[in-house]
Symmetry: C2
Subunit: 340 residues, 2 copies
């Protein structure tokens, strides 16, 4: 490929001027010279080498994203929103899929550090993610889940406990006498938040409610397998609230296979609220995370990112549709973000 030197030669000028033209600075270039450079570049089909540029300039104009499972539509939507936000700032988003594998996650982290991404947005699969590779390299990180106190990473999340509680409270308000929580793996941090929210909701109910918790991986396959077994039992719950939409889809599928009607025999609530949830059979009631705002805020924090980590909590929204027992779709007002 043609280099800046080739262009400079053909235009009868220096590489410095070629650079000034392509970067609109930092020095002025006469209109005449600029025209010659652009013509030469056009003719040679010149494309500046971003590697050389980054090496010299000290910025790669790229932000890395690490997600646990790119086949999960929630992360797909998230990647889309982050790409929008990054491109709006002139950056490229590099997406790494850790495929729910810790070694793979570590590989991607190493690759991002070696490629000197300017910043990183991360959804780790580890309970206590190690951000040290990034911090040692001076690369700011924002996690899209709660982080340990004292961690160097910022975070942008919703209040999962409050949201889980809101979801469960809604099922309580329907008057269901037995409600189960289909949670993630028992010991995970996220599972603790969903559990606390769930308990707070059912404990405050007027009539006593029979409750239980079942755990599955965050996949429709695993959730369906569990539910097929669990919902076949005579003491199955009247309603289920799930820690993710993925698990809710598994429950919907299992209910269908078992001949249970949703919501007449079993009410179901999801959690995440991607666009797909509106097209489930039946339409899935869920807690919607504000993906576009999460993405904008994350990229914004990284752009500023100086000094102490910031922990932002954004509002969520209850999206009530058919699966919980509500009729036509209705969307309840978003709770305001709690004070930071």
């Amino acid at each position: 490929m043609a280099t800046g030197r080739d262009v400079a030669q053909l235009a009868g000028t220096s590489t410095a001027v070629v650079s000034y033209v392509f970067n609109n600075g930092p020095r002025n270039v006469s209109d005449e010279t600029r025209a010659k450079v652009l013509a030469a570049a056009e003719k040679l089909n010149y494309r500046p080498n971003a590697l050389a540029r980054a090496l010299s300039f000290g910025r790669t104009a790229s932000v890395g994203l690490i997600v646990p499972d790119i086949a999960n539509p929630f992360f797909g939507e998230l990647a889309r929103a982050l790409e929008d936000a990054a491109i709006a700032r002139g950056d490229l988003l590099l997406i790494g899929d850790s495929a729910l594998d810790e070694d793979r996650e570590a590989q991607i982290i190493a690759a991002f550090v070696e490629r000197r991404v300017d910043s990183v947005v991360m959804v780790s699969i580890r309970e206590h993610p190690d951000f040290s590779a990034f911090t040692q390299a001076g690369i700011p990180v924002v996690a899209l889940h709660p982080v340990d106190r004292g961690s160097a990473a910022s975070s942008v999340t919703i209040d999962y406990e409050a949201a889980a509680r809101a979801a469960a409270e809604h099922l309580v308000s329907h008057g269901y006498d037995s409600i189960a929580l289909l949670n993630g793996p028992y010991d995970s941090v996220g599972a603790g938040q969903h559990r606390r929210g769930f308990r707070a909701a059912v404990e405050r109910a007027d009539a006593p409610i029979r409750t239980s918790e079942v755990n599955s991986a965050t996949s429709r396959a695993d959730a369906a397998a569990r539910a097929l077994d669990w919902l076949a039992r005579p003491d199955r719950p009247r309603a289920v609230t799930c820690a993710t939409d993925e698990q809710a889809y598994g429950v919907l599928h299992a209910a269908h296979r078992l001949g249970l009607r949703v919501p007449q025999d079993l009410a179901v609530m999801g959690f995440d609220g991607t666009g797909h949830s509106a097209y489930a059979v039946p339409a899935l009631s869920t807690v919607r995370q504000p993906i576009p705002r999460i993405a904008e805020r994350a990229v914004g924090l990284l752009a500023e990112a100086r000094g102490d980590p910031v922990h932002d909590v954004l509002g969520y929204e209850l999206e009530l549709r058919e699966s919980c027992g509500c009729g036509a779709g209705m969307s309840y007002a978003a709770p305001a973000a709690p004070p930071a």
Copy 2:
């Protein structure tokens, strides 16, 4: 961050030796010196700068992927499979989501060229994709859809027409007297292939079949909107075969809203066959594309990639489940790949 010079200084040697150690060549290094270098690197937390390496070495060890819609699970699975294949070769996969937008696609192409990815896997949203930016830069491309004759890009696909025909033939074999094709946008290349396959199937049926074609965008939202209207009419078809699973999900949703039972009132076939299709309500019969093999073949072609473009056609598989009227899930043998 520490550089190779810092490491060399601390180890009392030269940057050349640091390079030899970290690359295991091309020169030998004595065990003693190697140990010193590794100790120094460890102490300084040295991470080689991949930009500098690539600039000097001439390879970035990265392959770019451009997909139309990362929120579509088919492309999510594809990205996952390609990442597996790339990492197995020591490369990083960079994922760009064109978000069904031609300008965005062009931006990503430019970004990949500037970053000098070694090769590109592409699913373009354009009818006649322009690969010239890549070919001018000497970057080999494989498209995962048919490409124009004379194009510089290789391709890895299934035989869409034959697969569409197999899907429709299966519905014919159920004896349905009216079958519709829910196709993509009418004028697209892909739509032509689905249309020809569909027609070949219904024309060879023993009894006459009432047929029709409806078009929607490749999204559950648009497919559902169309289907809600269309399937409410008295002349609605007995069975629908769709150009993508996404559209089939929209049909399943619309059928549910209209009170139509699947498959008793309406049989449905999808096309793509991601993992999610098995968990639809009801489980979706579909044509499964061999994603892992597509990914391996694509990365393999790119690694070899010398000379003329190659056009590979892989086999597909009919995945018969509940939605078409088949009982328990059964998977029919994969047709062999036609001769190249």
